[in-house]
């Protein structure tokens, strides 16, 4: 293998997410300030839902008390089962379908939403066992769920989402607003 010329650049080489995924965002979910979600769309159209780095859960040294995929009395995302290539049986979620509720040790509770329309393929059960994954690796091992958009909607579902640039500009305006005395 020839890699000598690469060595210097590899430290900054694109990560797995950079290589295969496009980052999309929803800011201030349902009007709740800073409750930003991130949607990683793979080139094969599949989407991984994660917290955005600006989400309150990831700020101020918070820690997590519990994560609950039981979003109502009748519906638990943990019961989601898909079978076969066509993923039969997966719950169909829309933009504002709750995926889970996360309670921090300071008793603040946040709801994470699906952000896009599609079939729920799986939720991340690892964060139930190890909630700290959510804080340590929010964009990889601490993901929330995997959603497969309909084939014909795979391009249009991101139309309502913010691109990385748009999201960053929103975030930078926030910090300007914060620093200005009101």
């Amino acid at each position: 293998m020839d890699c000598l010329e690469q060595k210097d650049t590899e430290a900054t080489a694109p990560s797995v997410i950079d290589r295969y995924y496009t980052r999309w965002y929803r800011a201030d979910m349902k009007g709740n300030p800073c409750e930003d979600h991130c949607i990683l769309q793979h080139s094969n159209r599949l989407c991984v839902i994660t917290l955005a780095e600006t989400h309150p859960i990831l700020q101020d040294g918070r820690s997590i008390k519990s994560i609950n995929y039981q979003i109502s009395d009748g519906c638990s995302r943990l019961n989601n089962k898909v079978s076969g290539k066509s993923k039969r049986g997966g719950q169909f979620v829309t933009d504002f379908a709750p995926l889970c509720r996360i309670t921090c040790t300071d008793e603040t509770e946040y709801t994470i939403y699906s952000c896009i329309r599609g079939r729920l393929l799986e939720v991340n059960e690892s964060i139930l066992k190890t909630p700290s994954l959510l804080l340590k690796k929010p964009f990889t091992d601490g993901y929330i769920a995997v959603i497969l958009p309909k084939f014909e909607e795979s391009k249009t579902i991101t139309e309502n989402l913010l691109s990385r640039e748009e999201f960053e500009s929103i975030v930078s305006k926030r910090s300007v607003a914060e620093s200005q005395p009101s």
Partner: protein
């Protein structure tokens, strides 16, 4: 000399007056001497006429002869009112034309006699299949087709597809002479009648072999020539069966007509003789034209070519990569191999399969990956070892992105060995690994001692859109590290086939467990991957 007995006479008599051709008469007399069919049918007809002429004084013959005379008179009469001098732009009906040509030289002779001695009309049962349609013209047509397409072969099998209504006509004719046949021998059954197909082949095979030259026409061969016939005029013959045996004719996809040969045969088995006779003429009505023959089709059975390939490019997919109908990479392993193979075998197409596959950015080194190609309708199939070697060189000289070895012709059965190996065989890889935290060679050395590490791999996200979601246990049999620098090392692995290496390294959002990030307690990523060996011992190696 006709292989017929005295007892056959009433049958022959009855069939001839019904409008059967000479060969159909032989068929219904259950003559299985092939040579009898190979004689020119006009000659056989004369012999048959002479044969029945010997016993003009029999009582039953008299009545049949009278019948036939009457019938021939009738049909002759029917043509009389037709104006003989029609204007040219108003073409006479086919029937009229045929009848007229058959009676071009009208004479004072008895109409029945003239009918028997002149050029015979189209047979009511075979619709001409066993008359002119299996003559030299047909054999020449077949030979021309084969030569035009430059097929190379030693033997061929002839297949024929006949219009389904032939079964109906056969049945009608069988009922017509059943009584006479049973008088000859009680045991005789419809199955004892020689089939049209059979007789057709007996006649045509020799002629085709003669026209093509140097080949044998046999019952089983890799090379098949099919001739097909249709007869529009009598297509409606079958239609009454749809009302009497509706359950035999269910419309299905991919079928042009419900009246397939199989369905018609089934319906005829079910229908009672009386019911049949109320719906269909017995003997069958005379056709005005003979069948029209469709294009001659040639098909050589698939040839299988196997070998092993190396892939030296990180921008070459194994198979054509198309997304949303758009081509992503300009070439592929299978296309690079197929180009020369197809032209050597002059094949019309191919199906490529291999023992697993590698990603577009993965190289395959070592002795390569087993593959096999099914070549569709090859016009040439018997390449020698030396020619195969030459073909291999041609492929290898055509591109530096791939290399092929052990190229050989294999049997269809042997292909299975390649797929057998897919699950339980092992594969060896070398991966270039990046680590987030700086490492020293001691930090990674422990992995050299890990043996048979079982991974639980969830279907990787990158293929989850087209594969079922499942957790699959996969075994990493052994690992060997080669330290490179503080952030890089080579990881050599021997794994169970089907292990997703990239996901083992980066963890796939923690969906492969354990993964290299967990083992090394830092983020790791895979920068390059090479397949070093695919441990499937097929196809057999060919010494250089």
């Amino acid at each position: 000399m006709l292989p017929l007995k005295e007892k056959d006479k009433p049958v022959v008599q009855k069939l001839l007056s019904a409008g059967c051709c000479a060969r159909c008469v032989l068929r219904f007399c259950c003559v299985s001497v092939q040579a009898a069919y190979r004689k020119p049918h006009q000659e056989t007809l004369k012999e048959l006429q002479a044969f029945i002429g010997n016993t003009e004084n029999g009582k039953s013959q008299d009545s049949v002869a009278a019948d036939s005379t009457e019938e021939n008179n009738k049909s002759h009469d029917a043509t009389v009112p037709e104006p003989a001098d029609e204007p040219a732009d108003d073409p006479p009906s086919k029937r009229a034309k045929l009848e007229l040509s058959g009676t071009e030289a009208p004479s004072e002779e008895d109409a029945a006699e003239e009918k028997l001695t002149e050029e015979p009309s189209v047979c009511v049962v075979c619709l001409g299949i066993l008359q002119e349609l299996c003559g030299t013209t047909q054999a020449v047509k077949i030979a021309e087709k084969v030569k035009a397409e430059k097929y190379e072969f030693e033997t061929l099998v002839l297949s024929v597809s006949l219009p389904a209504q032939l079964c109906v006509r056969e049945h009608s004719c069988w009922l017509h002479v059943k009584k006479e046949l049973r008088e000859k021998s009680m045991a005789v059954d419809k199955d004892d009648v020689v089939q049209v197909k059979e007789a057709f082949k007996w006649v045509l095979q020799g002629l085709v072999a003669k026209e093509i030259g140097g080949v044998a026409v046999v019952a089983r061969s890799l090379f098949e020539i099919s001739v097909g016939f249709t007869h529009k005029e009598t297509d409606a013959d079958c239609h009454f069966l749809a009302t009497t045996c509706a359950d035999c004719f269910r419309p299905t996809k991919n079928k042009q007509s419900v009246f397939t040969r199989m369905a018609v045969v089934k319906a005829l088995e079910k229908i009672s003789d009386t019911k049949f006779l109320t719906h269909y003429a017995c003997p069958p009505a005379k056709p005005t034209s003979s069948c029209s023959s469709q294009d001659v089709q040639c098909l050589h059975q698939c040839v299988f070519v196997a070998g092993r390939y190396n892939k030296y490019s990180r921008s070459l997919p194994q198979t054509p990569w198309v997304i949303d109908g758009e081509r992503r990479m300009e070439s592929s392993v299978e296309e690079l191999i197929a180009e020369s193979v197809l032209s050597s075998f002059r094949s019309e197409g191919f199906n490529f399969s291999s023992s697993g596959r590698e990603d577009v950015d993965v190289r395959t080194l070592g002795t390569g990956r087993p593959f096999a190609m099914e070549l569709l309708n090859p016009h040439r199939s018997n390449l020698s070892r030396a020619e195969m070697k030459l073909l291999q060189e041609t492929i290898n000289n055509s591109s530096d992105k791939i290399k092929v070895r052990d190229l050989q012709i294999v049997s269809r059965e042997a292909m299975g060995k390649m797929k057998e190996g897919e699950e339980d065989k092992t594969k060896s890889y070398t991966a270039l690994i990046w680590t987030l935290k700086p490492i020293q060679s001691e930090d990674i050395a422990f992995m050299d001692d890990i043996k048979d590490l079982t991974l639980d791999q969830k279907t990787p996200l990158r293929v989850l859109h087209r594969r079922a979601l499942a957790v699959r246990p996969r075994v990493v049999h052994s690992m060997k590290t080669r330290f490179l620098d503080s952030h890089h090392f080579y990881l050599e692995m021997k794994t169970q086939a089907g292990t997703y290496i990239k996901e083992f390294v980066h963890g796939d959002f923690g969906r492969t467990k354990p993964n290299l990030c967990e083992l090394l307690k830092t983020d790791t990523d895979i920068l390059e991957l090479d397949v070093e060996s695919v441990d499937v011992d097929w196809p057999p190696s060919i010494p250089e």
